[in-house]
């Protein structure tokens, strides 16, 4: 290993409007090592990588490549300097061949025409370098490859660009066990051949298996940096160790928690297996887990949008079979989606129309728009007032409201129907701190009024602060259940499958 690190980032800071994304972050990675970069969602990992790869420019701090200071103005410049980033979403063109993708934008030419032979030969050589020549044919369409092979093509592309640094952003997110093994041995080979590898993950197993060094960022700052790989729970603690703010409402008392409203036994579908679950009136149950652990699919199954294909579900003790959101709403289940803009908001319609919509959908189709059996215009105004939706007028189009106020208006939409079960997915994503607190209090008020509240969240402090009971999911199953006295480290370990270490 040489003395000069291949990449060195010193004191990097970056702000976005209203958010300080990074504060004085330093990070180095040398030839022939794997440096794991760990942190929760939104900790600032992606921002750091985007600065390294020239997508963003830092407000302060410097980036050095092989000891030379660099000011990338465009990702292409970073690429030419030898930095390749493999994002979770691939940048391959699916309707082109592997070889065409490898040489996209720099096709070899002969007499002014593309030299296909040279392209295929070079592709074969690169694929041969890491022994996947038999797995991937240069002239296969990328769309015909499985996800793991597509990832290898991405890596092959990086190698053929003579990348000095390869950044992998949660590369195993879409891979199965066997594919992960292939990837790991590929990473080993790249390390042996002298590439510097930045490996972003929050799975402790991968850190233990692959990393030489570990850096943890949280809330835009480096909270821990190790020149060796410490025990998983040490890393996990560094990832989550922050104080629970006081803005969470009081939890439910034993007498407030009522009977079981919704239960599932043996529920499963393409994304879920062996789901056994009970939601009680008066209780807020938090669902924690990593991306892809099956929390949103579970919510969608309960809401009938992606129904269970096996198992049974009961509501108030009666068996129900919900195959559409309309079924679920009729049965008394409501849901607030995580991606509000795509799944919940009608930006061109008024705040009040947004609130009234579900009630109108279940009233007569040619019934008047002012009143129906659930609510009327005055009733909706009162609900919006009660939710403390801040808008110059409820006639205002939804697009002019802030995220928190939009969320509260959608809560009003469900309140009009008085659901028995209300599912919140990422209820405070993209919402400022003040509005967050009011959403928590609102959930608690709903629970006190007898609703069974399910909250899916990727924000562990929020899970711990707002829930009465916590369910952790992993790989489509329920991996564990905790009381509200659980620690973030316990939840994280259950979510990453390292329960053995915690016990």
């Amino acid at each position: 290993m040489s003395d000069v690190p291949t990449i060195e980032m010193r004191g990097i800071s970056k702000s976005f409007p209203a958010v300080k994304a990074l504060r004085g972050v330093s990070f180095t990675c040398s030839k022939g090592e794997v440096h794991a970069l760990c942190g929760e969602n939104g900790a600032g990992k992606s921002t750091l990588i985007k600065i390294l790869s020239g997508v963003y420019r830092p407000d302060s701090g410097e980036v050095l490549i092989d000891g030379q200071e660099q000011h990338f103005k465009h990702p292409q410049e970073a690429l030419l300097a030898g930095i390749s980033v493999i994002y979770q979403e691939f940048s391959l063109l699916p309707e082109r061949t592997v070889a065409q993708n490898l040489f996209l934008g720099r096709e070899p030419t002969k007499n002014g025409l593309i030299d296909n032979k040279a392209m295929v030969a070079e592709t074969q050589r690169v694929l041969g370098l890491f022994g996947v020549r038999h797995r991937i044919e240069p002239e296969t369409l990328v769309a015909d490859l499985d996800v793991a092979s597509q990832q290898m093509v991405e890596i092959a592309k990086a190698i053929s660009l003579n990348a000095k640094v390869i950044v992998m952003d949660e590369p195993t997110a879409a891979l199965n066990e066997a594919e992960c093994e292939v990837l790991f041995s590929l990473v080993d080979q790249l390390r042996a051949s002298g590439t510097a590898i930045v490996y972003i993950t929050h799975r402790m197993r991968e850190v233990t298996r692959l990393a030489n060094r570990v850096t943890v960022i949280k809330d835009g700052e480096v909270t821990a940096s190790f020149d060796h790989v410490p025990a998983p729970d040490v890393i996990v603690r560094a990832m989550v160790g922050r104080d629970i703010s006081e803005y969470y409402p009081e939890p439910a008392t034993a007498s407030e928690i009522g009977p079981v409203v919704l239960s599932v036994s043996g529920g499963g579908n393409a994304a879920l297996r062996d789901i056994n679950l009970e939601l009680r009136s008066g209780e807020i149950v938090g669902f924690a887990g990593l991306q892809g652990a099956g929390r949103t699919p579970l919510a969608m199954a309960l809401f009938g949008a992606a129904p269970f294909t096996s198992g049974t579900m009961t509501l108030d003790g009666k068996a129900v079979h919900l195959t559409s959101p309309r079924d679920a709403i009729r049965a008394g289940i409501g849901m607030l989606p995580g991606d509000r803009k795509a799944q919940a908001l009608f930006l061109m319609q008024s705040v009040r129309d947004n609130g009234m919509l579900t009630a109108r959908s279940f009233a007569g189709i040619f019934g008047g728009h002012r009143a129906n059996r659930f609510t009327d215009l005055n009733g909706m105004n009162a609900l919006l007032d009660q939710m403390k939706v801040r808008a110059p007028s409820y006639e205002q189009e939804m697009r002019f409201l802030s995220g928190g106020n939009q969320q509260k208006a959608i809560v009003a939409r469900w309140l009009a129907l008085r659901p028995k079960v209300l599912i919140f997915i990422e209820p405070t994503r993209g919402i400022d701190v003040d509005a967050k607190a009011s959403i928590y209090h609102l959930m608690r008020d709903l629970a006190r009024a007898g609703t069974a509240v399910m909250m899916v969240s990727s924000d562990l402090p929020e899970i711990l602060g707002a829930s009465d009971r916590i369910v952790v999911m992993r790989e489509g199953r329920i991996a564990g259940e905790f009381g509200r006295s659980a620690t973030e480290a316990e939840l994280m370990l259950a979510a990453t499958g390292e329960t053995g270490v915690a016990a």
Binding site: A18, I329, Q349, I365, N372, S402
Partner: protein, 328 residues
């Protein structure tokens, strides 16, 4: 985010209801016509103008249902043609036939709308393509039915709606039946779009289909109903147009694009979620007024097409620009 960061409408914009520019446009165009041709200010002038615009106005207001729900209906012109040709073939000059022909044509229209809606909702064919296919098919059917040349006549009982005027009325002196139709169907379509749950759901589906589904809107039923409304108004427009202009083999051609143009002039959002029935009717009036002006200026049919095309592009560009200025 605090309240200060919300875009607060100033006191002035809040107090003044924002007037849709299409109404200003209609008034300006009509004043221009009166200046060029004072006879237009007489009842026979403007009543005939309204009579001429009725078919397009009703058609546009119906097509708006599909536009607001986030689709296009290109089949409406061919439904008008089919209505006129079919009615003339079936009538065989029997004045009593009107009483069963119009309900039959409405039934055929409803079936066509239903097919459009089912193909778009369940076979997931984009509405532009599905209704283009329907348009070609129906033009073919009308052509086969008539044998390529208009045969038969529409009885006077049928032509009553498009042609007949009530005369000797004080102040306005004459009132075409067509204008009564315009008012009656205009009010019905306004009520459906702006005063019912159906109308609100149409807006929601056109604004964000996925969110509508997750909010419990019966998305398929709403979209199919929009196509049925559009097809039914096309039959009504066909009855009125046939009554006014008589039978010809391509009588409805071009109306589908005029209807979309009228809706756009009236401020409808082309990809759905926003649109007003009164403003669309005003859009139809504006379009017809422009054609009248071009006529008065002595410009021929080809110029009319050029102008219509430019208006369509211009209206969308104007709306986009306004929205951008308004903050998004």
């Amino acid at each position: 985010m605090s309240a200060q960061s919300l875009p607060q409408p100033t006191a002035a914009t809040r107090r003044l209801p924002r007037i849709n520019p299409v109404y200003v446009l209609v008034v300006a165009l009509i004043l221009a016509i009166i200046v060029m041709n004072p006879a237009f200010g007489e009842p026979t002038g403007y009543m005939n103008f309204l009579k001429r615009v009725t078919a397009l106005a009703i058609l546009s207001a119906g097509a708006l249902y599909v536009i607001v729900s986030g689709g296009f209906d290109l089949s409406v012109g061919s439904i008008m043609t089919l209505t006129v040709i079919g009615s003339s073939m079936l009538a065989s000059n029997d004045p009593n036939s009107t009483y069963w022909i119009i309900p039959l044509m409405l039934g055929i229209g409803a079936v066509i709308g239903l097919i459009n809606g089912l193909v778009v909702s369940y076979l997931k064919v984009p509405s532009l393509i599905a209704t283009l296919g329907m348009m070609i098919t129906l033009n073919g059917v009308a052509f086969m039915w008539s044998g390529g040349a208009p045969r038969g006549y529409l009885p006077d009982t049928f032509r009553f709606f498009g042609r007949y005027n009530i005369t000797d009325i004080p102040v306005i002196s004459l009132l075409p039946i067509a204008v009564i139709c315009l008012v009656v169907f205009g009010v019905i379509l306004w009520w459906g779009m702006h005063r019912t749950n159906f109308g609100r759901m149409l807006h929601a589906v056109g604004d964000n289909q996925q969110a509508a589904r997750l909010a419990g809107v019966p998305v398929e039923r709403v979209r199919i109903s929009a196509f049925v409304v559009s097809a039914l108004t096309a039959v009504l427009a066909g009855v009125i147009l046939g009554g006014r202009a008589g039978v010809s083999v391509d009588i409805g051609s071009g109306f589908e694009l005029q209807a979309i143009t009228a809706a756009v002039i009236g401020g409808a959002q082309l990809l759905g979620g926003r649109g007003s029935v009164p403003a669309t009717i005003a859009g139809a009036l504006a379009l017809e007024a422009i054609f009248t002006l071009l006529n008065l200026l002595g410009l021929a049919q080809p110029v009319r097409l050029v102008v219509q095309g430019l208006i369509l592009i211009g209206a969308v560009a104007f709306a986009t620009y306004q929205r951008k200025r308004a903050g998004r």
